[in-house]
Symmetry: C2
Subunit: 375 residues, 2 copies
């Protein structure tokens, strides 16, 4: 049933008395009961998942808990971004309280980023903070949203505007589940993997350029890439848990990316988050070159790698057309604060040399977007 421990990696997220382990490797869903039972004082769990993930993994997961004498209830929510709403937050809270989950028990998110963000938020507010375990089932969730404690739901005023920082007590990243992802979903998660190289790990980016096929194929290279990504995010989060400074580096590619997601109305048929980040990272490198901060060759290198793995790298690859530069700029301004015509942006001096720039002229961004938008 369970994989040999040698294939497994552990990343420690160091946050004082909120520190926790991320276990990464094959067979972690079948082994979940044992891993949880050995760490949890309580014997009760509420499992939150969605209609996409439940048919694939819920039975196995519940059986794994039962085998260790853990009493569990489950709640299956609709799949998709719309589930990150107050309506579903209320139903998760209600399930958790109805199951009488108390201090030593736990709430589990079994799913991708949507389920993780929603469930983490519910765990953060039920009894003013309950134990929380993440079992991320997408590559994106394994390398990004399940690390760092950001939880939340969307509001009519914008995405993720309501939530809390609530660190999990344990993350079980079962790499076997990634085999059931569509190539497009896997690639979208890979954009975030590449991001960690581009932020401050040029060696990791070079390693990915050589080894990306093995990462896509599975096995040791994939585990290595996920562990490196989790460690990279864990290091940033440990240094700046509440995003007062350097944590902003994790937004490399996200300012342009979020604007493109908003411009395509979060229609996943047109653009998913990781694809927006891929295009956004290329744009961030190109914009940095335009500002004479980086060589244009770095942008070309980033673009070549992301294109090679099959990710979109330019705005003209988004089906259905885009609004004009000024409208994209408005979307950026809604995401980031504009002070006196200046923006905070993640720019770069080259591969692995990103930095937080807080004085980017809005007019330069608009001019750049006009150049890059499909004519």
């Amino acid at each position: 049933m369970t994989a040999p421990a040698t294939a497994r990696r552990t990343v420690r997220v160091d946050l004082g008395d909120r520190s926790y382990d991320i276990l990464i490797g094959p067979g972690l869903i079948p082994a979940a009961g044992r891993e949880i039972a050995s760490r949890l004082k309580g014997r009760k769990i509420a499992v939150i998942t969605d209609a996409h993930v439940a048919p694939l993994y819920l039975d196995d997961f519940m059986a794994a808990l039962k085998a260790e004498g853990i009493e569990a209830v489950s709640l299956v929510l609709p799949a998709g971004e719309k589930t990150k709403s107050f309506e579903h937050l209320i139903s998760v809270c209600d399930s958790v309280l109805a199951a009488r989950i108390e201090r030593n028990d736990a709430v589990v998110a079994l799913g991708g980023g949507v389920i993780g963000d929603l469930t983490g938020f519910a765990a953060g507010i039920a009894r003013r903070g309950s134990r929380f375990i993440q079992v991320p089932t997408s590559l994106l969730a394994q390398v990004d949203s399940s690390v760092g404690g950001k939880t939340g739901i969307n509001s009519s005023h914008g995405k993720n505007l309501i939530g809390v920082f609530h660190q999990p007590d344990l993350v079980l990243a079962d790499t076997d589940v990634l085999d059931t992802l569509s190539p497009r979903e896997f690639r979208a998660g890979y954009a975030e993997v590449a991001k960690y190289g581009l932020i401050d790990k040029p060696d990791f980016f070079a390693w990915l350029e050589k080894n990306w096929r093995a990462v896509f194929a599975g096995g040791e290279a994939r585990i290595e890439a996920i562990a490196t990504s989790c460690q990279a995010k864990a290091d940033v989060v440990a240094a700046d848990e509440r995003e007062n400074g350097q944590r902003a580096l994790l937004n490399l590619g996200h300012t342009f990316g979020h604007a493109l997601e908003a411009a395509t109305h979060y229609d996943s048929a047109r653009l998913v988050h990781g694809e927006g980040v891929s295009i956004g990272m290329v744009l961030a490198h190109q914009f940095s070159a335009r500002m004479n901060l980086a060589s244009p060759d770095d942008g070309k290198r980033v673009e070549a790698h992301l294109r090679e793995v099959g990710l979109p790298t330019a705005m003209d690859q988004i089906p259905g057309g885009l609004p004009p530069a000024e409208v994209l700029m408005d979307a950026i301004a809604q995401d980031k604060k504009v002070k006196g015509g200046k923006l905070t942006f993640i720019l770069t001096r080259g591969v692995g040399q990103s930095f937080v720039a807080d004085d980017v002229p809005q007019s330069e961004v608009v001019a750049f977007l006009k150049e890059k938008l499909p004519k």
Copy 2:
């Protein structure tokens, strides 16, 4: 307009980078604009209040903000415990986001405990944590709920089961507003003042026995009593912010009190929170005597003082009858965890000598309640 600074007291709540000041004294609502403007980087505020408080203080408060160039919006909610619901939480969050309250701006709770708990929760989750200012308008809120960072709403499963710990950035306790409280409301808040003496400040309790008339009348003695209470709570909270240990002492009288509130269906015509605490504190002293922990004389002394100020001190003073001891015990068990027939309870060895007992036999509590319930 504003009172001389000499009449004002400041209590510092020492919580590292979440430390804050509680200003206590007359004229703080008219002076609110100045006090806030000197501490807040932003210039935008969302004020949340209720239909009971708004006609009394909202205009003055908004004018005080405007005079200092602070842009403010307000939201008036229905008064009463039912407002602590997801429905109103959603509307507060929506107001805060619609007003584009950002990191350096603030959300203000202008009201009693209900408005404070609800607004603090909304501030704790809007943008994953916004600045929060408490302007408590009841004695109970000034000495209890506005200190310590507990926020929340009620659920069908129980009171305060959904919420976060979110410390305010500033508390303005304007003692002038207490003159508009009904004597019953003032007395109910006074029960919590007396509680701080009974927990671990025998000298303060003795001072109250001598000076309670001056506290009720207003002026220096009232300010002194409020400042001592806030300092007492601040000390406990600083030592144990998330209630892992000694913070439980603040629940003296609350285990019995909550059971009585539940038994009277939170009907404020029959029993308000502070009255439940008053009876609960007397019961806690009597029960401690029954367990041979304290002298019966201490219980008599506590009862005499609370009766003298006009608070109820025995269950037979609650109009409308009470359920049998077993039903009250069930309500206690819902509030507190029962392990192997044993309860955690705040007991006492005498006035100012309370302690956390975690092995109180349930059977003893039931027998005691049977004795004390009206026949």
